[in-house]
Amino acid sequence: MSLGISSAHSVVEPSDRTRFIAGALVALYALITIVPLVWIVLTGFKTPPDSISYPPKILFTPSAEGYCNLFTTRSRQTPEYIAALPPPTDTCDKVARNANMVVAGPSNYVPRFINSLIIAFGSTVLSVGFGVMAAYAFSRFKVPFKDDLLFFILSTRMMPPIAVAIPIYLMYRELGLSDTRLGMILLYSAVNVSLAVWLLKGFIDEIPREYEEAAMVDGYTRLQAFRKVVLPQATTGIVATAIFCLIFAWNEYAFAVLLTSGTAQTAPPFIPIIIGEGGQDWPAVAAGTTLFLIPILVFTILLRKHLLRGITFGAVRK
């Protein structure tokens, strides 16, 4: 650029001072944002009295009580009974004895966590599988009413979950699917397939058609070309889509709380109802929350590049 504008640095490049101020403000916001999360992680290592002390304790002696209370159920015993017992064998026994209790058995957290895993992974496989097929068809073929069908698929996301929960509840009761993992997998797949179709269509649109056409000239059928040329090319997109579906199914609460009560219940409805003696057992809740959040934190970092696409159904690309 000439015209009297210094070519040393472009006019759109911010000055060092601007950058420093911008950086400081953003870092400040990020730190404030992260405080509630750090607080929850810390609370998981507090004792119940420490967790509700005033002023809030930043420095405290870490305790395993939260995690023990999360994983076990306990029963209160008389001091004489406890004194007569053999010495405690593990940490949670020790923690329980200190409070005049004995460990009665495992809690429901692990089964609920496993339900979350099975339902999230199961529905992800199903919705991404269906999604990739539909997305390929929408991307490559003349499907009748293509735009209407695509819009219809998107619009299923506008429905408040509770609006369809009543008939699904009735339908599942008839079919014997209520409170089963299969029922929840089918339900979450139906909710996620819209996202999968829209995202994957975007990814497949970006793969040149010429690849398949060349493969078909080489003697592949359409289906072989899809399997051996398109699918490998779309791997990144499929993985990103799968993680978005996983996160959604992992986080879902409304259907889970309305349609499951026991065997198929996932972790989100379970964590808030962990009750100790005298109200909610906050360290145990915090411990459950922390463990529940770890996969999400890992996925967030993995997904950074695709995040924008995923949350806008591919409507915006970076």
Binding site: I5, P14, A134, P167, N251, P268, T312
Partner: protein, 317 residues
């Protein structure tokens, strides 16, 4: 590349698309149906069929907890009673308050953050990732742990506010007070979803080519003028998209608020979905709640459609 493969590649380029397609295996038409079929079946079974069933139930006095009672066809009675029920209008008011303030705050803070991050300071990638974490969490879990942060007296939020302002922490209860509870849910939603808006705005800002600013600089337009005449209009379609997505999501908001306040105190934070859940799964007024569900769905669908038209208008300007 070997000679035969090179020949095939050349042949592939020379062959018009579609010729090879129909040669072997299933026809494209068959594959299209086969591939779209499973998705459509799943959606028909778990979305459309229940929706039609909801519609049917909305004209009856059916109660899901008494399946053997006589089911009467009550015509549009349910719709009339929903639309004349003052509780429903209170819920709509609470929803409107929630929608307006969450969208307003999220757009404001989200855009500001995106504008700052676009300065590309050192470490902007790291801080951006940190900011993005809240929106990836489970809304239910978020609602639950904010209930902990909002604990009167002992909660971290109350402590922080009293530390900064000097107001004694026992003098205000975020989720227990009629005046503050609607703001408690706005704060949590804003905390959680501002990153979402920020990300979309950032994509908008990055889509503006540098030469436009350079041209404006040549014309000696002030920075403020450039912001008003270039930045804002170019990012507007992105902001509108963010409003659309946040609007739809918050209109049907259930999980976070259910865990945080479950509609209370009184019905100050009873959003539409929470009322719907209460009517359907606590009072078991299935017909009545089905009518309300249909009204809500038509409202979201209708508003979203009108809005998308406006969005396209802005995009094509």
């Amino acid at each position: 590349m070997s000679a035969p493969r090179a020949f095939v590649a050349r042949a592939a380029q020379a062959t018009p698309p579609g010729v090879a397609v129909r040669m072997r295996g299933l026809s494209d038409r068959a594959i299209a149906w086969l591939f779209v079929g499973p998705t459509m079946l799943l959606l028909l079974a778990i979305n459309i069929f229940p929706l039609i069933w909801t519609l049917k139930l909305s004209f009856t006095n059916f109660r899901a907890n008494r399946p053997n009672a006589n089911v009467l066809d009550v015509g549009i009675d349910n719709y009339v009673s929903v639309l004349t029920d003052p509780d429903i209008w209170l819920a709509m008011q609470a929803t409107a308050h929630f929608l307006f303030w969450t969208i307003f705050l999220q757009m404001l803070i989200g855009f500001a953050l995106a504008y700052l991050i676009d300065r590309k300071f050192r470490g902007h990638g790291f801080w951006t990732t940190m900011i993005l974490i809240p929106m990836m969490l489970s809304p239910a879990v978020v609602g639950n742990f904010w209930a902990f942060l909002y604990q009167p007296q002992t909660g971290l939020f109350n402590y922080a506010v009293s530390f900064l302002t000097g107001i004694p922490p026992s003098s205000f209860e975020m989720i227990g007070s009629v005046r503050l509870a609607p703001w408690a849910i706005v704060i949590v939603d804003t905390w959680m979803w501002t990153p979402y808006v920020m990300l979309i705005c950032l994509a908008g800002l990055r889509s503006i080519p540098d030469y436009i600013y350079e041209a404006a600089e040549v014309d000696r337009a002030s920075k403020w003028r450039q912001f008003l005449s270039i930045t804002l209009p170019m990012v507007l379609p992105f902001i509108m998209l963010a409003v659309l997505f946040r609007g739809i999501e918050n209109f049907k908001m259930f999980d976070m608020v259910n865990l945080l306040t479950s509609g209370g105190p009184g019905s100050t934070t009873e959003l539409a979905s929470i009322t719907l859940k209460r009517e359907a799964f606590e009072k078991w007024r299935t017909g009545y709640s089905s009518a309300f569900a249909i009204i809500l769905f038509v409202a979201v669908f209708g508003l979203a459609n009108i809005y998308v038209k406006a969005l396209n208008h802005v995009k094509n300007r």
